[in-house]
């Protein structure tokens, strides 16, 4: 079942738009993630699709039929909530069977579906327990089983993993993705965690400031961000956004220190250039031409994260080889050897400069780029 969002909008009062002009097409069997910071309206959008919140403007189509004003139960979908929303007075089995009973399925079919769903989420030995006797991860599985048991082919998930601890979350990510593929479910998945979206989704919608910022595959979003928000939201460590101005015909100078050669001339204006820490190389103290001073050093195991200040005072994040030694106060020489994204002053992407280094020898930092 495909889903079509056509210029959806939501306003609670006349001029206060919580969401505006949301247009997207979600293919049948697709894992579609809606990502954004808290308060960007992603849960509201999900509830509009579910029918729990009325749609103010625009049109929603489910499976080719207009569903804008349909009550939730006629939209043929299920929902998994962040807080699980289990019925505490019902056993696991009854929780999973709840929707089927409400929809008056034949008893035999209910039993079959429930048994199958409980088996899929590995809760067979807990099927007679109450939610209070289950761990957080198990409760999450019950909520999943409830969605699976339903005959609806669309499943809406509202940050289903955010209440789990880090390790369990990573495990559930894989399980959820496998389950979705196995059952051919169309999943719309709301999360504020960009890593979750990147690892699970076929397509990602980035919401911010009540509007869609970008829709694309995880690779697209990472490699071709549409604006500075998307650029800095995806990827850890975050992309550096440096102020830039035109200093020659085909050259930008970033933060008065770094030179970036351009493939074509640009109009004279203020620009912002985004460079991921992995697209910067650095030469340790004592070698090269120093232009950045180390402020903090964080050892992450596989790499070192450096927070530094360029000579004009602009903060910049760098990654370095863990075998090298860096100390606060060290002066380093930083250069560009990966992709750089040129944004206009409003933050909209203009073009990308493919990774080419301008000076000094290739160094370790770019290996992960």
């Amino acid at each position: 079942m495909s889903i079509e969002l056509n210029a959806l909008g939501k306003a609670y009062t006349a001029d206060e738009w919580v969401l505006q002009n949301v247009t997207a097409h979600i293919e049948s069997g697709e894992f579609f993630a809606i990502v954004g910071p808290s308060g960007c309206g992603k849960s509201t959008l999900l509830r509009m699709i579910a029918g729990l919140i009325p749609i103010s403007t625009g049109e929603l189509q489910i499976d080719g039929k207009v569903a804008t004003d349909l009550p939730p139960k006629d939209r043929q979908l299920t929902m998994v909530f962040q807080s699980y929303a289990l019925f505490p007075f019902l056993s696991v089995t009854d929780n999973v069977a709840f929707g089927l009973k409400a929809r008056k399925f034949p008893a035999k079919e209910i039993e079959e579906r429930v048994t199958k769903a409980i088996k899929l989420v590995n809760l067979e030995e807990f099927k007679d327990r109450r939610p209070r006797d289950l761990s957080g991860g198990q409760r999450q599985r019950v909520a999943l089983a409830r969605a699976i048991a339903s005959d609806a082919k669309v499943c809406l998930m509202d940050e289903p993993l955010s209440n789990l601890d880090a390790q369990l979350r990573i495990k559930m990510r894989t399980e959820l993705r496998n389950l979705q593929q196995e059952l051919g479910l169309t999943v719309i998945y709301v999360t504020h965690d960009q890593v979750e979206a990147m690892t699970m989704a076929d397509h990602i919608m980035v919401l911010h400031d009540h509007k869609i910022q970008q829709i694309g595959t995880p690779l697209d979003i990472y490699n071709r961000p549409a604006n500075t928000f998307v650029a800095s939201f995806f990827g850890t460590p975050r992309m550096n956004l440096l102020p830039a101005r035109v200093t020659a015909d085909r050259e930008l100078t970033l933060a008065d220190t770094l030179k970036l050669a351009l493939p074509k001339p640009v109009p004279v204006a203020d620009y912002i250039v985004g460079i991921r820490p992995t697209s910067l190389y650095l030469v340790p103290q004592g070698k090269g031409d120093p232009n950045a001073q180390v402020k903090t050093v964080e050892y992450l195991g596989a790499q070192i994260l450096l927070e530094a200040e360029l000579s004009d005072g602009t903060p910049i994040e760098l990654t370095a080889d863990p075998d090298d030694v860096y100390r606060t106060g060290d002066w380093l020489s930083v250069g560009i050897d990966g992709n750089a994204y040129v944004f206009d002053h409003a933050g909209e992407v203009q073009f990308m400069v493919e990774g080419g280094r301008q000076h000094a020898s290739r160094s370790h930092a770019s290996a992960q780029a």
Binding site: S83, A85, F87, P88, A102, R132
Partner: protein, 272 residues
């Protein structure tokens, strides 16, 4: 915190003294109900003439069983009606949105400030107009619902996580189904509490039945006891005590049974 032995002893001592003060009259009442009236009149409290004769007499010679039946009918009807109407009212205040909802709720709250005694006269006039005097109806109809019950259940329904309502909406439950299959089971502890409360409240009614019932056919227990005492020929104190004990038994049953349900944590695990 570890308590020293003296501390502990002192604490228990205080508790025991308080318990004696509170339970004392009950024990005394129960004890005298086993004694012949002659001994009670003499003040011979430590008499050894213990028997259940007073109970036999009470059941055989007075209308106490009829009073009990009346009270059971009235209390059970009142309890059932209050559970139904208070929960429906509270549901509306929590899960339906309509104009003036909060105002209406405050009006209902405001009626709690009014003591029952202040309502007695207008209520009496009303039930007399309706020709309900001296009938079960007169003791049930004015108490079909209660502001306190609505208030209590509203607070309890508000604890229900909104996600449960959303989950039910997605599954297509209408209001009646959500009320019956989610709200009531979720709030069952509050419902048990209200049931016990309204049953006892009705059981212990005295002023209102005294004004509105004139015959043993409809008189409830509390007024029945008073009736026994005031009958001229009746000065059989042992039997009155026995009747009083009989009247107290249902109260104790309700409290003991109720206690079983007042457990914490029954609703854990709905969310998070």
């Amino acid at each position: 915190m570890m308590l020293t032995k003296t501390h502990k002893t002192l604490r228990y001592l205080v508790l025991v003294i308080m318990a004696i003060i509170i339970i004392g009259p009950f024990i005394l009442g129960f004890w005298t109900s086993l004694l012949p009236t002659a001994d009670i009149a003499k003040g011979a409290l430590f008499s050894t003439h213990i028997s259940l004769q007073n109970y036999v007499d009470a059941v055989q010679q007075t209308a106490i069983m009829r009073y009990l039946l009346n009270s059971f009918v009235i209390s059970l009807l009142t309890m059932a009606a209050q559970l139904l109407f208070c929960s429906l009212g509270a549901y509306a205040f929590v899960f339906l949105s309509f104009k003036g909802r909060d105002f209406l709720f405050y009006v209902i709250l405001a009626t709690m400030m009014l003591p029952f005694e202040a309502e007695v006269i207008p209520n009496f006039v009303t039930v007399r107009q309706l020709n309900l005097l001296n009938h079960y109806a007169v003791m049930v109809i004015p108490f079909l619902t209660s502001a306190f019950g609505i208030f209590m259940l509203r607070q309890s329904f508000r604890q229900i996580p909104p996600e449960l309502k959303e989950a039910a909406d997605v599954e297509g439950l209408n209001h009646w189904q959500f009320y019956w299959r989610v709200t009531l089971p979720y709030a069952r502890i509050s419902l048990f509490t209200l049931a016990a409360y309204s049953f006892l409240e009705s059981w212990n009614q005295y002023l209102w039945p005294m004004l509105t019932t004139f015959s043993d056919k409809f008189r409830p227990v509390q007024d029945g006891l008073r009736q026994l005492q005031s009958q001229e020929t009746f000065n059989n104190w042992g039997m009155i005590q026995a009747s009083a004990v009989i009247v107290v038994i249902p109260t104790l049953i309700v409290l003991f049974v109720g206690q079983h349900y007042f457990k914490d944590g029954l609703n854990e695990g709905a969310t998070k």
